[in-house]
C-alpha cells in the first residue's frame, strides 16, 4: 500500500518510533462527563476556519477609512463566492467565541484546571481574551456605521480605566477619536499581533494537553486511586473520527448560516452622522455593556463607569488566578463554592446578555 510505503520511507530517515508510540498510547478517558472533551476540538476547528477564511479575505480587503467599506462590498458582491467567505468568517467568529466560552465553563465545572494543569488554564484564558480581542478589532474592519459607533463606545469604556484610562483610550484609537487611524491599528492587531500571540498561546496549550493527557473529574480520579481501571478509547482513530464527525456537523451549520442568513454590511461609517438607534456591541460584550449602563453615574466618590471597569478587572484577575485560589480542588477535595460561583456567573451572563439585547 502506498500509505505504508510513505510511512516506511519517512521512518527510515526520521525514525518515527516516538510518534508511533505516542499515537498508539494516546487514549481518551471514558466516563459520564466525557462529552465536554469535544469542546476544545470544536474551538480548534472553528479557529482553523477563521484562519483560512481570514487569509482569503486579506486578498481583497483594504484597511483604510476610504476603501475598507467599499472593499468589503466588493468582496461580497463582485468576487465569486466572496459572500460565502465573508459570511463564513463572520458567523464562524461568533460560533468560535461561543465554543471557547463553553469550553472554559466546562473546565471550571470539572475542575480540570487543578494541579498539575495550571499552565494549561493560563494559556487557555490567554486564548479566550485573545479571541475577544479578535472579535473587537475585527468588528470595526468593515467600517460600517454600527461597527464605528460600537467601537467608539467600546474604546470609551477603556477610557474609564483608572489612572491609565486616558492613555489607553488614545492608544487604542490612535488619537482622541475613532478615525482611519483606529482602523489601521485594529487591522494591525487583527492580522499580525493577535495571530502571533495566538500561535504562541495555542502551541503551548496543545503541547500541555498532549504532555499531560486529558484531565479526569475528581471523582473518577478517586476511583482510579482506589484501584479502578481507567476505561479509555484510542485517540487515533476512534476519537479523531468522532471529532471529525462533529466538525462536519459544524461545517454544515456554518454553510447554512452563511448562505441563508448573510451578515449585513449596513451603511458606510460617517463620523459626522448622528449616532443611529440600536447601537450595541457584539453579543459577547453585551453583558458587560449592559452592566456598565445600569451602574449609576456616581457611586460614593467614584465614577460609576470607573467602578464597573474596576469590578470587571477584578473578575478577570480572579478568573486568571482560579487554579491558585481554589486550593481544595488541587488537593482533590470537592469545592462546591466554585460550582456555585460558576453557576452564578453563568446565570448573570445569560440574563444580562438577553436583557441587554432586548433593551439596546
Amino acid at each position: 500500500m502506498l500509505q505504508q510505503r510513505v510511512i516506511t520511507w519517512l521512518d527510515e530517515r526520521l525514525d518515527l518510533s516516538d510518534v508511533k508510540h505516542f499515537i498508539a498510547e494516546k487514549g481518551v478517558p471514558v466516563h459520564t462527563q466525557k462529552v465536554w472533551y469535544y469542546l476544545g476540538g470544536m474551538t480548534l476547528f472553528l479557529l482553523g476556519i477563521q484562519v483560512a477564511t481570514g487569509i482569503l479575505l486579506l486578498l481583497y480587503y483594504r484597511p483604510s477609512a476610504e476603501e475598507a467599506y467599499e472593499s468589503v462590498q466588493f468582496i461580497v458582491s463582485e468576487v465569486e463566492f466572496g459572500w460565502l467567505i465573508r459570511n463564513m468568517h463572520s458567523w464562524s467568529a461568533n460560533l468560535l467565541i461561543a465554543a471557547a466560552i463553553a469550553h472554559m465553563f466546562s473546565v471550571v465545572f470539572l475542575r480540570a484546571y487543578r494541579k498539575p494543569r495550571e499552565l494549561t488554564w493560563l494559556s487557555g484564558i490567554g486564548l479566550l481574551f485573545l479571541m475577544f480581542g479578535f472579535g473587537f478589532s475585527g468588528y470595526l474592519l468593515p467600517w460600517n456605521e454600527l461597527a464605528f459607533f460600537a467601537t467608539k463606545v467600546g474604546t470609551g469604556i477603556a477610557g474609564a480605566v483608572p489612572v491609565v484610562g486616558k492613555f489607553m483610550l488614545r492608544f487604542l484609537r490612535g488619537g482622541d477619536d475613532v478615525t482611519g487611524a483606529t482602523l489601521s491599528r485594529f487591522y494591525a492587531l487583527h492580522v499580525a499581533v493577535f495571530p502571533m500571540l495566538m500561535t504562541a498561546f495555542l502551541g503551548l496549550h496543545l503541547l500541555l494537553v498532549q504532555r499531560q493527557g486529558m484531565s479526569v473529574p475528581i471523582n473518577v480520579e478517586k476511583q482510579l486511586r482506589e484501584g479502578a481501571r481507567l476505561r479509555q478509547i484510542p485517540f487515533v482513530p476512534n476519537y479523531v473520527l468522532r471529532d471529525v464527525l462533529l466538525w462536519y456537523v459544524a461545517l454544515a451549520i456554518l454553510a447554512a448560516l452563511a448562505a441563508l442568513s448573510p451578515w449585513e454590511l449596513g451603511r458606510k461609517a460617517d463620523p459626522f452622522a448622528p449616532v443611529p438607534a440600536g447601537i450595541r456591541p457584539e453579543w459577547y460584550f453585551l453583558a458587560m455593556f449592559y452592566t456598565l449602563k445600569l451602574i449609576p453615574s456616581h457611586v460614593l466618590i467614584i465614577e460609576g463607569e470607573q467602578l464597573g471597569v474596576i469590578v470587571f478587572g477584578l473578575a478577570a484577575v480572579i478568573l486568571i488566578l482560579l487554579p491558585f485560589l481554589d486550593r481544595r480542588s488541587s488537593r482533590a477535595e470537592p469545592n462546591p463554592f466554585v460550582t456555585w460561583a460558576g453557576v452564578a456567573a453563568l446565570i448573570y451572563l445569560v440574563v444580562f446578555t438577553i436583557v441587554g439585547y432586548l433593551t439596546a
Binding site: 476603501e67 463582485e78 468576487v79 465569486e80
Partner: protein
Amino acid sequence: MPSPRTVDMASTDGRLERRKFLDMLLATGFVSTILAFVYPVWRYLIPPATGEPTIASVVAAKASELKPNSGVIFKFGGKPGILVRTPEGELRAFSAICTHLDCTVQYKGDTSQLWCACHNGIYDLGGNNVAGPPPRPLEKFVVNLRGEPGNEDVVVSRA
C-alpha cells in the same frame, strides 16, 4: 486506515463486504466534500472582471470628449453625478441629484446653468441653488486629470 487493533476477529464474508462498502461510502463523501470546499475557494482566488473596488473615485469621461459649455452625466456608485465644462473651459463635477426631490439635473447650454426638469430648479456652475425649489446647493466633487496630455481621463472623487 485499519490498525491491527481494530481488526474484527469474528468477521465473516458479509461483514467484510459491509465494511468495504462503508469505506467506499466514506471515501466518496470525503472527496465530494473536499471538492465542495476547494471549488469556491478556487473561484474566489480568480480576480474578478471588475478589477478593484474604486467607489471613492471614478473615471467620469475623457477630457477631450467634453466641449466647453456642456455637461455629461456619469455613474458614481449607485448615484448619478454630472461633469461640467464651463464656457471658460474649466472642469467641475457635482452630484446630479437635485436637492429638492432627488431628480437628475442636466446641463442647460443656453444659460450655462444646471437645470432640474422636474420643478424648474436652477443651479449656477458653482453648484449653488439660484432659482426654483432646491433648498441647498449640489454636493461638490473633486476633479483631477490623469493620463497623457491630450488624452486625459477625468477622475472625479468625493471631497
